[in-house]
């Protein structure tokens, strides 16, 4: 099957039906390995066992940003190429991205309270991630409240592209401003600052979260294609009635 064939929703559904069981199995195995590694990771010399929260917080943050980047590509597909699956991909990703951003914010707060002495500060990193969460809610509101789905999709695509400006702000906020949130400690010039005994479980959990995201996204895209079929059939039935 050529990649271009996936532009056809029926062929895409066939592909999803075939790969979904394998993705579900891979996700379960990845989480079993990741959680085992996370639970057996040594305590941090400063933060103690609370470093275990990082194995949830950081992958959720990475996936929340990756999800918005994916939605930005889908938004281009909707606005420029009017690809039939582009809007499906964007709409299916939005609730997952919102849930991951919520997870990132809550686990971050629960990590911040014992380490910083507060659940929340209005520093640049925390605030920019909160803005990302509000943008996700805005996109969902546009999708869910628009009477004409095509107009809703175009409005959501514009918001997603405007909101993409927030991604580099989140990434570099700890460099551009003085923040309570720690600076970049993994993807930095000179290599990660984190000890490999903690870095390995982190990457294992990040892989598990990535597989979970791909699995949920494909399943949600399948549901969205079916929803559009239902809508088309209902409209045709109403016309012939």
């Amino acid at each position: 099957m050529a990649l271009i064939d996936l532009a056809n929703p029926t062929r895409f559904l066939d592909l999803v039906r075939r790969v979904l069981p394998w993705l579900i199995a891979a996700t379960v195995i990845a989480f079993a390995i990741g959680l085992t590694m996370a639970m057996n990771a040594p305590d941090d010399y400063q933060q103690g066992a609370t470093v275990k929260i990082m194995f949830l917080h950081v992958p959720a943050a990475w996936l929340a940003m990756l999800c918005w980047a994916l939605m930005s590509v889908a938004a281009l597909g909707t606005l420029v190429w009017r690809h039939p699956l582009a809007d499906v991909a964007g709409k299916a990703a939005a609730p997952i991205g919102a849930a991951l951003t919520f997870t990132c914010l809550v686990t971050g707060s629960l990590w911040g309270r014992p380490m910083w002495g507060t659940y929340w500060v209005w520093d640049a990193r925390l605030t920019s991630v909160l803005v990302l969460f509000l943008l996700y809610l805005g996109v969902l509101a546009l999708y869910w409240t628009a009477e004409d789905p095509n107009r809703g999709a175009r409005a959501a695509a514009v918001l997603v592209l405007v909101g993409a400006i927030n991604l580099p702000i989140i990434k570099f906020s700890v460099d551009w401003w003085n923040t309570l949130h720690q600076g970049e400690s993994i993807f930095r010039a000179g290599g990660p600052e984190i000890d490999p005994t903690i870095l390995r479980p982190l990457f294992a959990m990040a892989l598990a979260f990535l597989l979970l995201f791909v699995t949920l996204h494909l399943a949600a895209m399948r549901n969205e294609i079916l929803r559009r079929r239902v809508r088309t059939m209902q409209m045709m039935q109403a016309q012939t009635a």
Partner: protein, 54 residues
Amino acid sequence: MSLGPHADFIVAAYAVALAVVIGLVAWVVLDYSEQRRVLGDLEERGARRRSRRQ
């Protein structure tokens, strides 16, 4: 495995993440069965998609 003096925060973080994952999985599964059910009802009543029309 000891979670130290801040065990409550660690357990709460994992509980929230688990609740979110369960919520997402339930949303996908329930939505799928709902769309399949409605699609089945429509096909039973003779509705066809444009591409399947004779």
